[in-house]
């Protein structure tokens, strides 16, 4: 078990996958040579190790990058391609949603598309709304795609490795702002099953469901709440598709309360799905309204006070949990 940063853990996953299976290649804008020379970036050093045949810097062509992955996977390779920032996924959604996700179905189960798309996400890095726009809700609403969104270095490695070797198209969303965060990471071919959530902190009074970077917002809130005697259970979904409904529903059945948190905009966000599942399947256990804490329904602004204002804070989570347990 090594201590690695989140970015290094992702790189470790790529490294293990590439050394294990020569059908694995990576491609994207700057995955080989990057403007950032930084060992905490997930593809740093892989070009040097695996050479330009397997580490492909591409033109600025998101549709072609995605098409490359779809076509190469159909012939049995295991592409792991990168979309530089989340909003650029719009340029690749035809290839991903109409092709990667559907071509197997259209073939009647004859073709398969074992591809992975890594997307760099993040709402708070001062680049504005054309770089910051978390759209996991879109991908989760696209039958045929699996979607994972890890929050720790170990999960990042374990999920990326599972994604790479999954026989289906998997989207791996990476919270960029975590790239520097360190944690213990198991060595070798370590995989985490896609579709299993994780209880980060057990608790009795309220379930707080989150994923990606916002897990830390939830943890901060849970810590503060404990001081006032409120025991929040924090769940890290890790996978959005397939979703670990068992873990979610079990928890809510125990706590009777639910707060959902994410960094994407609230309206139509993935939190709505979590809420809706619970309102349908664990309704009788619910003791209070389901609260959602999320970003505002605006494009992400650049000015620092506004960017901060837009991102959901632990204070907002605290207030939401308090209100569900009947405290002000």
């Amino acid at each position: 078990m090594a201590v690695l940063s989140f970015g290094q853990a992702l790189k470790d996953a790529l490294d293990v996958a590439m050394s294990k299976d020569d059908g694995v290649f990576i491609a994207g804008e700057g995955v080989g040579v990057s403007i950032h020379y930084n060992p905490n970036l997930p593809t740093h050093g892989l070009l040097e190790k695996y050479g330009p045949k397997r580490v492909k810097d591409t033109p600025v062509s998101e549709a072609a990058i995605a098409g490359l992955a779809v076509g190469a996977s159909a012939l049995g390779l295991r592409p792991v391609v990168e979309i530089m920032f989340f909003p650029f996924i719009t340029l690749a959604t035809d290839m991903l949603v109409n092709h990667a996700a559907k071509l197997r179905y259209l073939s009647g189960g004859k073709s398969s598309f074992p591809l992975t798309v890594r997307i760099k996400a993040g709402v708070n890095f001062a680049a504005g709304c054309q770089h910051s726009h978390n759209l996991e809700a879109w991908l989760a609403h696209s039958p045929g795609l699996k979607v994972v969104f890890p929050s720790t270095p170990a999960d990042a490695k374990g999920l990326l490795l599972s994604a790479t070797f999954d026989p289906n198209p998997v989207i791996v969303i990476e919270e960029m702002l975590l790239y520097w965060m360190k944690g213990e990471v198991p060595d070798g071919d370590y995989r985490i099953p896609i579709g299993e959530a994780r209880i980060v902190i057990p608790g009795n009074d309220c379930t707080v469901v989150s994923y990606g970077g916002s897990v830390y917002t939830a943890l901060e809130a849970a810590k503060a709440l404990l001081d006032e005697g409120i025991s929040a259970e924090v769940i890290d979904l890790r996978s959005l598709v397939p979703l670990d409904k068992v873990c979610l529903l079990d928890s809510v059945r125990r706590t009777g309360r639910l707060v959902v948190l994410h960094d994407a905009a609230k309206f139509g966000g993935f939190g709505a799905e979590i809420s809706a599942i619970v309102a349908e399947e664990a309704f009788d256990a619910l003791k209070a309204p389901i609260k959602r804490v999320a970003a505002r329904d605006i494009p992400v602004p650049v000015s620092p006070p506004q960017e901060m204002f837009n991102k959901p804070s632990s204070e907002m989570v605290i207030a939401a949990v308090r209100s569900t347990v009947g405290k002000r």
Partner: protein, 325 residues
């Protein structure tokens, strides 16, 4: 067997395949007039048979083709079984894709037609991936992607050509310029008349060819495919042809000049090949009639098979989304 004899054999085979495509689709015209027989719109390659056959004949079985919404010809030329295609077009469980695709996106992995897309312009990026895999694995196989004159306006085609040329991928881009994109004529949707001119902008060879002359198409395809197989990178073929039917059998071509249709019907690729073979004494009328009858039987067999097949179960719709491990 001398090369001349081989040539005769090839011509006959090409003729048979073109007739199969023609008759298969003529049957679709007939069936589409009977309510409830077929599922969805029927987008036919009537008039374009020479392109499919001439190109595919230049390929090896393990070469890959990526097809589009107008796929019947491509797939039959590549060797797909008409029975399973017909069943798919009827939405039957025995269809090549279990009825999940219908006519518009039939994939036939058995003949290396792994991906068919009805997203106009969707094929070329997929071909980039296929060609990349072939190059990566060090095989000598290549990928052919068929797309239309209309598709040439899609950004995806541009991205794919740039990447294919940059990485010297073994891909032949085949633009079937059939003068129409839906109800828009070439001059209404493209700033160019010769789509092959685009090749310059990617530093790849590009040539236009009479798309109703299967021999010329085959010769050009041979050349491009060989180049490609030898690692020289992609090339582009523009086959100038014509879509004789509407865009779907409900489309009665109200926007088409009847004279244009007449002129092109004189250039019918099937007729041209049979007439040239007759003129050269390579076949007799009687032989042609035998071929006709054989193909009729094949198509009837396909219709019979498809008609007798049952629909898939409703719940089976839930299958085939995922590879289950």
């Amino acid at each position: 067997m001398g090369s001349q004899q081989a040539d005769v054999g090839l011509k006959k085979t090409m003729y048979e395949e073109m007739v199969l495509i023609r008759k298969f689709e003529e049957k679709l015209i007939e069936l589409s007039q009977q309510k409830g027989k077929l599922v969805g719109m029927q987008i036919l390659a009537n008039g374009q048979e020479a392109v499919a056959v001439g190109i595919v004949k230049a390929l090896q079985p393990d070469d890959v083709i990526v097809s589009n919404h107008r796929s019947h010809g491509h797939l039959l030329a590549k060797g797909a079984d008409p029975k399973y295609l017909m069943a798919e077009i009827m939405g039957k469980a025995t269809g090549v894709n279990k009825g999940k695709s219908g006519t518009l996106h039939m994939a036939v992995p058995e003949v290396n037609a792994l991906m068919t897309t009805t997203i106009v312009g969707g094929g070329p990026p997929l071909a980039v991936g296929a060609g990349f895999a072939q190059q990566y694995r060090g095989t000598s196989n290549i990928t052919v992607v068929f797309f239309g004159d209309g598709a040439a306006a899609e950004g995806s085609v541009h991205e794919a050509m740039n990447l294919a040329a940059l990485w010297k991928l073994p891909i032949v881009f085949v633009c079937e310029n059939n003068c129409w994109a839906g109800a828009q004529s070439l001059s209404e949707h493209s700033c160019l008349r010769d789509i092959a001119q685009r090749a310059v902008g990617y530093g790849m060879p590009g040539e236009s060819v009479d798309g109703n002359d299967v021999e010329k198409i085959y010769a050009l395809a041979k050349k491009m495919v060989l180049r490609c197989r030898n690692g020289k990178g992609p090339g582009m073929i523009e086959a100038k042809t014509y879509r004789m039917r509407g865009h779907g059998e409900h489309d009665h071509q109200h926007y088409v000049d009847k004279k244009e249709l007449e002129e092109w019907s004189r250039l019918c690729p099937v007729k041209r090949l049979s007439e040239s073979m007759l003129a050269d004494g390579l076949v007799t009328e009687a032989q042609l009639q035998t071929i006709d009858r054989q193909i009729d039987a094949k198509v009837d067999e396909a219709v019979g098979f498809a008609t007798e097949s049952s629909y898939p179960l409703p719940e089976e719709a839930l299958q085939d989304v995922w590879v289950e491990e």
